[in-house]
């Protein structure tokens, strides 16, 4: 599943984004997820929790997660938290698909 985050990801929008993602994940047959952040205009540390939370859920079901389209800002934030060590980031969706 490819999940595009559009707009701003902060604590306020996190609830909505979390619900949307979880609803899609329940429906999805394939438990792998690629987060496409190329249309995300802002992210603070709330983004870490959202990605980490989804990663933990699908991991239990044998799924994998990866990130695509990071801005310099969001890359710095994910890097600080160590998240990129468990949820790798790729340049393109193709590349992410190949490494699933």
């Amino acid at each position: 599943m490819i999940a595009g985050v559009v707009g701003e990801l902060d604590h306020h929008s996190a609830d909505y984004i979390r619900q949307k993602l979880d609803a899609e994940l329940v429906k999805a047959s394939n438990k792998n997820i690629i987060f496409d952040l190329s249309k995300m205009s802002f992210m603070d540390s709330s983004g870490i929790g959202i990605i980490m939370g989804r990663y933990k859920n699908i991991q239990k079901l044998g799924g994998k997660a990866s990130l695509v389209g990071l801005s310099d800002q969001s890359r710095r934030i994910f890097e600080m938290s160590g998240l990129l060590k468990i949820v790798p980031a790729y340049e393109t969706i193709d590349e992410a698909l190949k490494n699933m």
Partner: protein, 144 residues
């Protein structure tokens, strides 16, 4: 050092005001024309401090958050404060990955992000009285 501009903002501890506070800080700081990346740094730090006041300080109940900004020719000072529950152990709270609300998808990286995006971050707090976060950033692009 005299500030060239100064604002004080007071707003309710609603999560919709997290984005509002970011916009205000960005509009204020853009008067001195920093780079887009420097502007994003400020927005992110403000977002972290205001979010903390909303979810930790007031634990999602209603309260007032204050943002006091001073603009210099190549730098900004931003003080964000609340009259919420306060922090018992500031050193612990500032540690990367420490959060008192792991159940809420909080990562414990808020203070670490502030420290990384601003030059100075100082936290003062008194349990039961509130928390004040002082931040300062020099815009390298504007230093003459």
């Amino acid at each position: 050092m005299q500030p060239i501009n100064e604002i004080k903002l007071e707003f309710l501890s609603k999560s919709s005001n997290e984005a509002f506070a970011r916009v205000v800080a960005a509009a204020f700081v853009s008067q001195i024309d920093p780079t887009l990346e420097e502007l994003a740094d400020v927005k992110t730090a403000v977002s972290e401090a205001v979010t903390n006041a909303v979810i930790h300080g007031y634990e999602n109940s209603q309260g007032l958050i204050r943002m006091h900004c001073k603009l210099f020719c190549d730098a900004v000072e931003i003080i964000i404060s609340d009259d919420g529950v306060g922090i018992e152990d500031i050193e612990l709270a500032r540690q990367p990955l420490y959060t008192s609300k792991p159940d809420m998808d909080r990562s414990g990286m808020g203070f670490t992000v502030m420290e990384s995006f601003m030059d100075i971050v100082e936290v003062t707090s008194k349990p039961g009285e509130g928390t004040t976060v002082y931040m300062f950033k020099t815009f390298k692009s504007l230093i003459k």
